[in-house]
């Protein structure tokens, strides 16, 4: 495990605030060790830093009350959705209170005519999609985990179908948030576009809880496509697969998903999901459209793939076959774990211009081969984003150090290829040094914004900066 730096604790403030909050929230404030540990625990290699208390507000006004008490006593406030973030976002390095949004889980409005909805931050993406299905609508952002929508906005999440539908930045119309002084703001109206002042919506999206607590989201929705076609195709190399991806996108094929599994991942998938895929780089795709449109997209892709040595191309419009295909992709985490039972996974998240993707993946694979532990690759390659899952023995300081060293090297490589150290996981505690390397002087203005909006640094301190 890796230990993030602890920050100075304001013991007096924390004690006073906890007393006041206990009076106000009673059983909806919890201080037991287990629940505190659970709220500092992330699906990550960073060690738990538990908060001093966990609060369960049920309304925006209650969130504002919590923040006002914490602001008055300079106590850290850490928002908590489902705890699936990967960079230590919910840790409490200076203590303070975790604000668990689980009870703020109401879908407040679905405006089918406008293709939007208004939800509380604790609603998960699966809950929302279940609710929407009967109306023929869906929310397209799918980061894999059944994350809360507030958390997804806070980390600027994306996932497998960002190539067509964009990331959270593209799918949040407006936010309600409680700011560090306890003020409740709305960042925009519900209209589809606006030029009214600074884009506070996009400033809060990806701010990782460091500027305010999201208490309501207005989200863009999509109509469920008439037809969905899935496809897979094997390639002789990552380079060939990347060339096919680039050509597909240049052709303007509005591919909904285009995912890469490298040979290590394919082997793992074959073993775990009892498949018989050729053990070379694989692309998994999905096309959305009318019956004719989706079929035409798949056909055009098939022709492109052939040009780049693609083989074993299979397209299917049936729900069953499609589900089987994506099940293998969704199970990749468990399949990868199967390569080295008992190991823990550390995930990288670099994202580069797509023309640099093959270079980045190939170099990463070459170097990973010397690490002494497996490192399968899966990638949202339509966006140039890929994850290497380093399967390490966390008890081994040597392995952890090699993994950390490798991640640093890969982040630097991505930055040198005009890319970023994080395509979708965020900075959190884990990537702070790389943010500075990546954006240099720009981070000074990020800090200025943070200081202006949260002068006492009570909002999720120790993250991003």
């Amino acid at each position: 495990m890796v230990q993030a730096a602890a920050l100075p604790r304001n013991e007096t403030g924390i004690k006073t605030a906890l007393d006041l909050l206990k009076q106000r929230f009673g059983e909806r404030m919890q201080t037991g060790a287990a629940i505190r540990e659970q709220h500092g625990h992330t699906t990550t290699w960073i060690e738990t830093q538990a908060p001093d208390a966990v609060l369960f507000p049920e309304s925006t006004e209650e969130v504002a009350e919590i923040v006002r008490v914490c602001a008055a006593h300079k106590v850290p406030v850490i928002p908590f959705g489902t705890g699936t973030s990967l960079e230590g976002h919910v840790n409490a390095p200076a203590g303070g209170v975790s604000v668990d949004m689980a009870r703020m889980n109401r879908i407040l409005a679905v405006n089918a005519q406008d293709l939007d909805c208004v939800v509380q931050p604790g609603v998960t993406r699966e809950d929302l999609n279940t609710h929407l299905r009967d109306q023929g609508l869906f929310f397209p952002i799918d980061p894999g985990a059944n994350a809360s929508l507030g958390g997804m906005a806070a980390t600027r999440a994306s996932g497998t179908n960002a190539v067509r539908y964009g990331t959270m930045k593209d799918n949040v119309i407006a936010l309600e948030a409680v700011m560090p002084d306890g003020e409740i703001i709305r960042t925009a109206q519900r209209a589809k576009k606006t030029s009214a002042g600074y884009d506070l919506t996009r400033l809060l999206v990806g701010s990782e809880g460091t500027l305010g607590l999201i208490t309501e989201l207005t989200l863009r929705l999509q109509g469920i496509p008439e037809a969905i076609t899935a496809a897979r195709c094997s390639f002789p190399s990552v380079d060939a697969a990347s060339q096919a991806v680039m050509m597909t996108i240049q052709y303007g094929i509005p591919v909904a998903r285009i995912e890469l599994l490298d040979e290590v991942s394919v082997k793992a998938a074959n073993a775990y999901s009892k498949l018989d895929l050729p053990e070379t780089p694989l692309l998994l795709l999905e096309f959305h459209g009318s019956e004719a449109g989706a079929a035409e997209q798949a056909e055009t892709f098939g022709a492109i793939a052939e040009e780049f040595g693609g083989s074993d191309f299979k397209a299917t419009g049936t729900t069953e076959e499609r589900n089987a295909l994506w099940q293998a992709r969704h199970d990749m985490y468990w399949a990868s774990m199967g390569i080295r039972p008992g190991a823990k996974g550390m995930s990288t998240d670099v994202c580069v211009p797509i023309s640099n993707l093959a270079t980045c993946v190939t170099q990463a694979q070459a170097r990973a081969a010397e690490l002494g532990f497996p490192a399968p690759v899966v990638g949202h390659v339509g966006d140039g984003n890929f994850h290497m899952l380093l399967l390490i023995d966390m008890e081994s300081a040597a392995e952890t150090a090699r993994a950390e060293d490798f991640i640093g090297w890969l982040n630097d490589l991505a930055i040198s290829l005009d890319g970023t150290c994080t395509g979708e996981h965020g900075i959190g505690q884990g990537k702070m040094p790389y943010l500075a390397k990546e954006l240099g002087p720009a981070t000074r203005y990020m800090r200025a914004i943070k200081a202006a909006i949260d002068p006492d640094n009570i909002m999720n301190p120790g993250k991003i900066f």
Copy 2:
């Protein structure tokens, strides 16, 4: 004409800075009355407030030099693209220097494989598209005017095909900017997506020159579609047309343009463009896709339109007929002027959720009928955004007052319908009071950001706030 408030001038600072800048820039600093007036003149009803000098930098470093001199002497800096903004954005209410980006007009890179390009801010959208055509690429944002890309980013411009391709916020990948202290920053790398820190790209997009000067833009490009089909259809009412638009979008038809002309606009178009359109509300559309795809989209729309009483539906795939159709739309400004020769146009810019569009347009038309001057409507209805062009005699104080009063009423109506006072023109000098009405407490945090980044308020003072 409407006079925006003048702000206190820092005479000593301005004199000192102008002396220093003259020594450095020689003939590339101009102080003649004509050129200064031209740089304070906007295509707007707000009176000119000329800057004290106009500078023509040729590089980012030169922009930084200008800003450093102005920062040292607390002198306003106002960026200038092509002067086509509509809300007094280039006015100099406190004097200072206009920084004309005309000579920063180089296309620095086109990365066809990545569907992106890097340009200087003075490149206009038509220049860029001419340059891209041979490579089968285009930049989709079209605000009508041949604006500079820097200006389009600064005002968060959009226009006719935002319904499919989004606004400038969706099509800027990264910016280089000179900040108020003269520091040069890059807001992001060239990768398609990122979760690295605060979204300074989206903060600068739409900041109207108040936080920094954009000196370079990395933009998303699109492949020119294989087929483009245009269509038109007449409707018995604005409500019927709006219903058809909503259904089209709910069906997931990826319409590229869907524009409304009300009956007054259609009459004007018939007269100006020698057409014979039914004088009822009209929708103009464009579909992008494969040959089969674009045709299928048009056909599906035709069926939807019929359901809502649409008549005289015509679709065409030929370039000639398509151009004729859109020429009429592009000539609407001149056609409208023809309704009342000698009048000047004041444009509104409200944007509402599409389900409220018919209500908003219909109420606006009813009230406009009592104004005593014509007010044709054109609208980017796929986004719920429409413009009423108030054709007034600017010499008449009574008409100007009635127009101002009407615009205020319409902005309030849009806000009450969950919409915004500005879908794409920006706040500038003209809409400051409505920003506060629209977003209330949120504007306090906008001001805090402004004060943190530009403590001396030298960047385009008197705009937005």
